[in-house]
Every structure is written in structure tokens, then in C-alpha cells.
Amino acid sequence: MRLRAVFIPILGMAAATETCSAAPLQDALHAYGIQAWHIGRLWNFTLGLCVLVFSAVVAAFLFALWRAPRSDAQTPPDLSSLERPERRIHRTVAWAAGLATLGLLALLAADVFTSRALGRLPLQDAVNIELIGHQWWWEARYLDPDANRQFTTANELHIPVGRPVIVTLRSDDVIHTLWVPNLHGKRDMIPGRTATMQFRADQPGTYRGQCAEFCGLEHAMMALLVEAEPNAQYEAWAERQRQPAPLPASDAARRGRDLFLSHSCARCHTVNGTGATAAMGPDLTHLAGRKTIAAGMLPNDAGHLASWIRDPQTLKPGVYMPVNRMRPDELQDLLAYLETLK
């Protein structure tokens, strides 16, 4: 009865998941970029070899169990091996160990070739991004030799399909790890050290990544979206990001902007084109263009934004953003302003 009671919910859940829409892409087995594809190929080879070895050893083991006669504690021990060395058995064991060594050499070679392939990604015309880990969000600076063309965004990367991306990884506080499994393996972001990661998206899509190194309380709530889009679309997006925030058109939005600047918001956030230039929290210059807020945790709509601003501590306990006490009409004004930050 116990077993039946627990298995029915499993079946129920499996049925429920089938009806859901497709999950966000965060999967190491489905490559959408050349680097993840190289690793996926190594995975297939390694998995194949390991399954082969596993089957062979378990088969030998089961056969041994099947063929060996049974005994009990009174059965006199068989000491014949002490007088006559069991050469045939020793030879078999040695052969098996030799084969295992060959298999291991094959794995080593496959690993080295994959490492070489990963290191050979052509880097002409690359997009350079500096990604900085914070507890618990991502700051992205799009680098450019021309300082005026640089811009900063947060928690959502846009990249052009087919062009390589060089991400320079840094951290401002503790160790984080960038992992966007559909595009590439992971890389640590270690304070005091700089690492780079090179990858390319070969199909347009939204790829989800997540911090992979335990980084404190809200480690689970530190996601990143990577939007891979055709180059023209990417350039248009980048051009928008370079612009300062538009001036608010409505009265409500203007009141909201004043609230933003006079309230605690401006002490941590930047909105280019206003007096807000602090860098403690994510840059909000183009907040309204993002799909999510709170590092991939909540959809970016008025309702979620309102509850996030009012009480982030309930939604994401321990986050560095404080509770904001404001009147409902003030909150509406602020939301009206934030919606203009396209």
C-alpha cells in the first residue's frame, strides 16, 4: 500500500509536465552553440564507452554469480590456488586491466582533442562583454574601444547569432560561476582574478543560465538570460542601450522620476541621463526592455515590479535591496516612470 500511495503522484506529475509549455533552455545535452556542441560530442563518446564497460563488467559479474556453485559456512575452503598458481585467471585479469588502460587512454585523447577544438574558436569580430558577479545578480558591461559606445546592463545578455562572444569574468564579492549550458560549460568568477570564456550562439533563441557556485543565501535565485538574435537585431538593441533614458512624457511618470531621484532608489541604481549614477544595484536605464527582474526570478510586469519594490525581502530574503515604504499612489507614479525606461 505504501508503494502504491507514493507512485501515483509520480505518474500524476509526469502527466502534468507533459501539458506544460516547453521549459526554458538550460540543458547541457542540447547544444545551440559550437562550444557546447564540441562538449556534447565528447559526452556522447564518453557515455558510449562507459556504458560499454559497465555492461561488460556487470555481465561478467552476473555470469560469475550464475556459474559459481553454492556453498555454506561449513564448506571447506578451496586452497588449491596456494599450491598451483592460477596462471589462466591471472592472465585474464591482466588482459582486462590492459583493456581498461586502453579505454582510459582513449578518454584522455578525446579530452585533449576537445580542449583543442574549444580553444580554436575564431575570434574575429567578437563581441566583448565584461560580466561581473554580485550577490545575487549579474552586471554586464559591453566593452568597446570607443568609450562612448560602451554601455552597462544587468541580468540579460543580448548576443548576435554567429558572432563569437568573449566574456571577461570578474566578481565583486564572493565566487560565482557563469553557466549557460546550451552554449558552453561553466567558468568561475573569482574575486581578485580574471577569467575569460569564449563561445558562439549558432541559433537564435533565449538561453537561460544560472550561477553554479554556491554564493550565499540566494544562490538559487541568480539566473541570467542570454538572448541570441540576428546581428542586425542585436546591433539595434545595442544602439538603444547606448542611449540615455528617454525623458518622461506624462505627469505621473515625471512624478515617478522625481520620486526615484529623491527616494532611496537612486542611492543604489543608475539611470543614465538622470542624476542617478550609483552602482550598488543593477543599472536600470533600460529596465523596461528586459524580460525579467530580480536576476531572472520574476517576470517583468507592473504587478511583479510593484510587489518587488514594496517588499523584496519577502520575495528574495536576504537580498541587499531594502523594503520601500511608499503610498500606493507614489508606487503607481514610480511604476509609470519605470515603464518608460525602454
Partner: protein, 641 residues
């Protein structure tokens, strides 16, 4: 075969000499290796159960998406406590605990070396474990992971005392571990019965010898690391602060230089269990004894060359990482060789399929799977996808549960009759086994898939949209099957201890020395110290001389033999029971716990520690006189012509 016996009067005197004193004070003064080992085993098992309960809480929280049972703060404490408990308070010490019971019996010794230090190590270990759990129940349980990576564990990002508790728990357990290693190495190298050359030593004893040397070389690294961490936090040193010239990666090197060998410290003793059990239940000696010994020794060496494969996602040089890939693949060779030798033994043996063998057979499937996923993690490129995902959670449990916990349960079923004199119930044993085996695979196999589907480790929840719910639910169901199985084991032990079938000296028809003496063994183990002529002395024809005469029955006198050939060297008196180890351990605890709060505790608490140790080592006049009186000068010996 039974061992030669003394007459009743001498046997009673021998028992009186080696027995622990009665009463409450006597209980705290006990130093007999079997008494201390049983306590040690029970203590580690309690920690195993506590760690398991923490894991059940984790599994409840992750059973479905957006779990609300446990908050982020408690969850961080739970997985940190689970990892720390299982690694530091269960897996390594339980092997030492079993070894301090079995090694003297297997090598024909009356005690372990340094029995008081052995008792001291037990008390230190227990007090450290109690400190950790008291802290957890006071809501200051460690929460920076069992690996406590800096800078997350630095004062800036972990301002409460939680990390200090963790660092001192390391000090306690590693101190105990180092002492046990010294006890075991000395026992094995200097106290073997005459004739038990290294070439005749049981494979279990070889495994413990290799493990103990590993403890000796690896534990100082993590003690150094945790001490540097606590001084960073307490007295503002800057070992790990990159802004002041320290380095965050230094911690990872120190931690994993210990942490990777630790896996093999957990895994090698069970190789010894398996060799003992397979030989007995296949009714023949293990195929390839020299290969088995060399494999264990090679594993112990190679284990020190792998630690960087925990750091493949860092920015260390790629060429260097390839070296560690090669080393990580290479260590599979000795393990494969041992597996092949065991399969050959089963192939050519006659099998007695009892519960101990069942648990060992599960090892072949589970550890093999865990070892193969380990090969996947050894590759730098693959590891960048698999590292820190649930795939690693699956891998490490396949290795540690399959490689250590299953053989350990088998070992309990095997040696329980020796510990208690009674057999464990066989049908409960089978339920125990099958629930464990199925529950284990149901819990951990889905985690491979979850990791590949992108689920990271150490997340307290996950969104429903990720579709990780059903596999996680299966894992939770499996974890409760394991819990039921462990409960059955406890019931079996409690029932069989009183009502089990009587075992006699040798219920399994085994070949090693521990089965030649009564179950449970008398306080002095061997009434007559045996002389060994073969690897399986109980299986092979008896040869003379069969035993040693002339050792005192009224003092704790033992034989010391030479390292390689176990030739008679000299006689030694071991110390008697004393309360001093316990009192000194209490004083040391005051020092360690005090230094969580103030560095000055190291100064003022040194006084009671020194007082305890002085009392411990203070020579007693009558014993010194008796001992010198029993000495024979070479000049006094009449040379027979």
C-alpha cells in the same frame, strides 16, 4: 580452529588485567580498544543517522518546484551540516572506529598501540561533534558549504559565528583523525603476532595501513587551511583576502589537497571489507594478493595527485589541468584491477549468498557506475558542464554510498557476531538490503539527468517552468526508502543483540585470526598470543609453534615485533585505565570552543590542558619499579653452549 587456551585461573587474571574498571568513573576511564571502538562506531552511526535526517529535510524541500517547507537560510545550514557531518563525523571516522576494533584481532595483538591516546581521540571527536550539533540547534549551524569557500566564508560575507563553528569542528575531528592514524600505523607495523610478515597481512589491514598514512599526509592541509580561515576571521590575518595580497584559490588548493584524498580515505577501508567478505563467502583466498596490495598502495599514492579536478572551472592553466585529467583517469586502473580480481574470485569460488555478501555485490554495480561517472568528471571539457550540477551530487553518492556505505553495512552484518556474540537476523537483513539498493538508485540515478538538464547544486528551490519536478520527486521517494531501510537495520541490531542466534567463535567459516577467539572476545583478545604461518591461518594446516608463552597475565604486557618480518623484538607494558584522557579532552574542548570567541582562549585554556596532560603522563612509582624489575639485561642471560 580455536586458539590455544590458558587454564581458568590464568584466563581470569588476564581478563581482570585488561578489563575496564566498573562504575561511572570507570566508564569514563575506559581505554580497552574494543570498548572504545564500539562507542566510536555507535557515535559515528548516530551522526550518520543525524546526517541522514538532514538529507531527508533537504529532499522534502526539493520534492516539488517552488518548495516552501524550508527557507534559504535553514537550507544553507542543512546542506552544509549534511556534508560536514557525513564527511567529517561519519565516513572517515567510522572506518577508523571499525579498524581500531578489528586490526588488533586480525594481527593477533592484545590491544592497539597508545590505548590512552586512542581513548582521548574518541572523546575529542565526540565532543567536537556534539559542539557542531549544539550549534546547529542554537541556529548557529555552519552555512557556507562543507567546503567553506572563501570569500563567502570570510568575516565580511559570513559575519556570524557559524563559519567559526565549522572551522573548529574541523580542528576537533582532524585532531582525532590524526591520532587514530598514529595509533593504527603503530599497531600495524609494530604489534603484529610473530610470523605475520607484511606478506601475510590480511588485505583489510593493508587497506587500513594505506588509509592511515593518507590521513597523516592529507589532514594537515585542511587543518592549516581552517586555522588560517579562523585567524583571518578572528585576528584579522589576510591569508585569503585578494585585496591585501591573499588569494581565494589558496583555500581551494589546501582544502582539496585534503578533500580529494579524503574520498579515498573513505573508499580504501571498504576495499578491505570487501576482500575479507568475498574471500569468506566465496570459500577461497582472493585472486592475486600481491596485485591487490599494490593496487591499494598505488591508489593511496595517486590520490594525492588529483585535487585540481575539483577546480577545473577556475582559471588555472589549461595544460596543468590536462595533467590532472591524466592522473584522475590513471587512478581508475588500480581500482579496476581490484574489481577484476574480485570477480575472478567469485567466478572460481563457491558462493555462500548471505547478507554480508549481498551488500558487497551491490558495491560492484553502484561503485562501478560511480567510478565511470568519475571518469566523465575527470575530463576538463566535460567537467565544465557537469561540475557543480546535480550530476556531481549523483556521482559522489554513487561513489561514497556504493564504495563505502554498502560495504560498511556488509561489514556490520559480517562482524556483528564477533562484536556481540550473536547473529543479525537474515530476513530482516535482506529487507534492509533490497530497500536500500532500490531506494538508493531511485534517489540518486535521476540526479544524473537533473544535472545534465541544468540543475545546479545547493539551490534551495527551483522554478516549476524548469520541469525538474518529477525527477526530484522520485529522488525524494527513494530517500525515504533508504530511511525505512536504515530503520530496519536499527531494529535488527537492537533485536539481535539480545535475541539473535548465538554465533560461536566462527559462524562464517572464515580464515583470519579474529575468528579463532570467542565472540565477543575476552578483554585481552588472545589468551595465548598466536604465531602465524600463513595468510589465512585458520584455513591452512596448523604448524608449530602455535603460540607465544611468557607474556605476563597480571600486567598489560604486549609483544613488539619487527616492521617487515614480525620477528620478536621486545616486550612492552601498556598503560592502565585512566580518567586523564577524558579530562584532558574536556580541557582541550574548552580551549577549542573558547578560541571561537577570543584568541586569548589559546593562552589561558592551555593551563588546564597542560595540567590534564601532566596528570596523564605522571609516572607511578610502583609500576615503574615492577616494570624495571621485569626487565632482563642481556648481560644477565646465560648463554647456553
Amino acid at each position: 580452529m580455536t586458539a590455544p587456551r590458558l587454564d581458568a585461573k590464568d584466563a581470569a587474571m588476564l581478563e581482570q588485567t585488561w578489563r575496564d574498571p566498573p562504575g561511572l568513573i570507570g566508564w569514563f576511564s575506559a581505554i580497552n580498544h574494543k570498548t572504545m571502538s564500539l562507542r566510536f562506531m555507535i557515535t559515528t552511526f548516530v551522526f550518520f543517522v543525524l546526517g541522514g535526517l538532514l538529507a531527508l529535510a533537504i529532499r522534502l524541500q526539493l520534492a516539488g518546484p517552488d518548495g516552501k517547507i524550508i527557507g534559504a537560510d535553514l537550507y544553507s545550514q542543512l546542506f552544509t551540516m549534511h556534508g560536514s557531518t557525513m564527511m567529517f563525523l561519519f565516513a572517515v571516522p567510522v572506518m577508523q572506529a571499525v579498524a581500531t576494533y578489528l586490526v588488533p584481532l586480525m594481527i593477533g595483538a592484545r590491544s592497539v598501540a597508545f590505548p590512552r591516546m586512542n581513548a582521548f581521540a574518541y572523546w575529542i571527536f565526540t565532543l567536537g561533534g556534539i559542539m557542531l550539533f549544539v550549534a546547529f540547534f542554537l541556529n548557529v549551524g555552519p552555512d557556507a558549504g562543507w567546503f567553506a569557500y572563501v570569500p563567502l566564508s570570510s568575516l565580511q560575507y559570513s559575519p556570524t559565528k557559524r563559519v567559526d563553528i565549522w572551522a573548529q569542528m574541523i580542528t576537533f575531528t582532524e585532531m582525532a583523525g590524526l591520532m587514530e592514524a598514529i595509533v593504527l600505523i603503530t599497531t600495524i607495523l609494530k604489534m603484529r603476532a610473530p610470523g605475520m610478515t607484511l606478506n601475510r597481512m590480511p588485505l583489510f589491514v593493508w587497506a587500513i595501513l594505506a588509509t592511515s598514512f593518507m590521513v597523516l599526509f592529507s589532514m594537515p592541509a585542511v587543518m592549516l587551511g581552517s586555522t588560517a580561515l579562523i585567524t583571518d576571521r578572528l585576528v584579522n590575518t589576510q591569508f585569503f583576502n585578494p585585496l591585501k595580497g591573499g588569494d581565494a584559490l589558496l583555500w581551494q588548493h589546501l582544502f582539496w589537497f585534503f578533500g580529494h584524498p579524503e574520498v579515498y580515505m573513505i573508499f580504501i577501508p571498504p576495499l578491505g571489507f570487501i576482500s575479507s567478505i568475498v574471500a569468506t563467502f566465496a570459500r577461497r583466498p582472493i585472486v592475486g594478493y600481491p596485485a591487490m596490495v599494490l593496487s591499494v598502495v598505488a591508489t593511496a599514492f595517486l590520490a594525492f595527485g588529483l585535487w585540481v579536478h575539483h577546480m577545473f572551472a577556475t582559471n588555472l592553466p589549461e595544460l596543468g589541468k590536462t595533467f590532472f585529467t591524466a592522473a584522475s583517469l590513471m587512478i581508475a586502473i588500480p581500482t579496476a584491477l581490484q574489481i577484476f580480481c574480485w570477480i575472478a574470485t567469485l567466478w572460481t569460488g563457491r558462493l555462500n549468498l548471505r547478507t554480508p555478501l549481498l551488500f558487497v555485490l551491490a558495491f560492484f554495480v553502484i561503485l562501478l557506475a560511480g567510478g565511470l561517472t568519475g571518469l566523465m568528471l575527470a575530463s576538463v571539457s566535460l567537467d565544465t558542464q557537469l561540475h557543480d550540477s546535480h550530476f556531481v551530487v549523483a556521482h559522489l553518492h554513487y561513489v561514497l554510498m556504493g564504495g563505502a556505505v554498502f560495504p560498511l553495512f556488509g561489514a556490520f552484518y559480517y562482524w556483528f557476531p564477533k562484536f556481540t556474540g550473536r547473529m543479525l537476523n537474515e530476513s530482516l537483513g535482506r529487507w534492509n538490503f533490497w530497500l536500500f539498493f532500490i531506494g538508493f538508485n531511485l534517489t540518486f540515478f535521476p540526479m544524473h539527468v537533473l544535472g545534465l538538464q541544468g540543475m545546479p547544486r545547493r539551490v534551495y528551490t527551483y522554478p516549476a517552468a524548469m520541469e525538474w519536478g518529477s525527477l526530484n520527486f522520485a529522488a525524494t521517494v527513494g530517500s525515504f526508502m533508504i530511511a525505512v531501510s536504515v530503520l530496519l537495520f536499527i531494529v535488527n541490531v537492537l533485536r539481535s543483540r539480545r535475541h539473535g542466534e548465538l554465533a560461536g567463535n566462527d559462524p562464517w567459516g572464515a580464515g583470519t585470526l579474529e575468528w579463532s577467539i570467542p565472540s565477543p572476545p575476552p578483554a585481552g583478545n588472545f589468551e595465548m598470543v598466536p604465531v602465524v604461518h600463513a595468510r589465512d591461518p585458520l584455513w591452512e594446516a596448523k604448524r608449530l609453534p602455535s603460540h607465544v608463552t611468557g607474556l605476563a597475565n597480571d600486567y598489560r604486557e604486549i609483544l613488539v615485533t619487527s616492521v617487515a618480518d614480525a620477528k620478536l623484538d621486545h616486550r612492552l607494558w601498556l598503560p592502565s585505565s585512566s580518567l586523564a584522557p577524558f579530562v584532558t579532552a574536556l580541557a582541550t574542548t574548552v580551549l577549542f570552543v573558547g578560541s571561537i570567541f577570543t584568541p586569548w582562549a589559546v593562552v589561558w585554556a592551555a593551563v588546564p590542558v597542560a595540567a590534564g596532560a601532566t596528570w596523564w603522563f605522571w609516572p607511578k612509582k610502583d609500576i615503574v619499579e615492577q616494570r624495571t624489575g621485569s626487565e632482563i639485561s642481556p648481560y644477565d642471560v646465560e648463554v647456553e653452549s
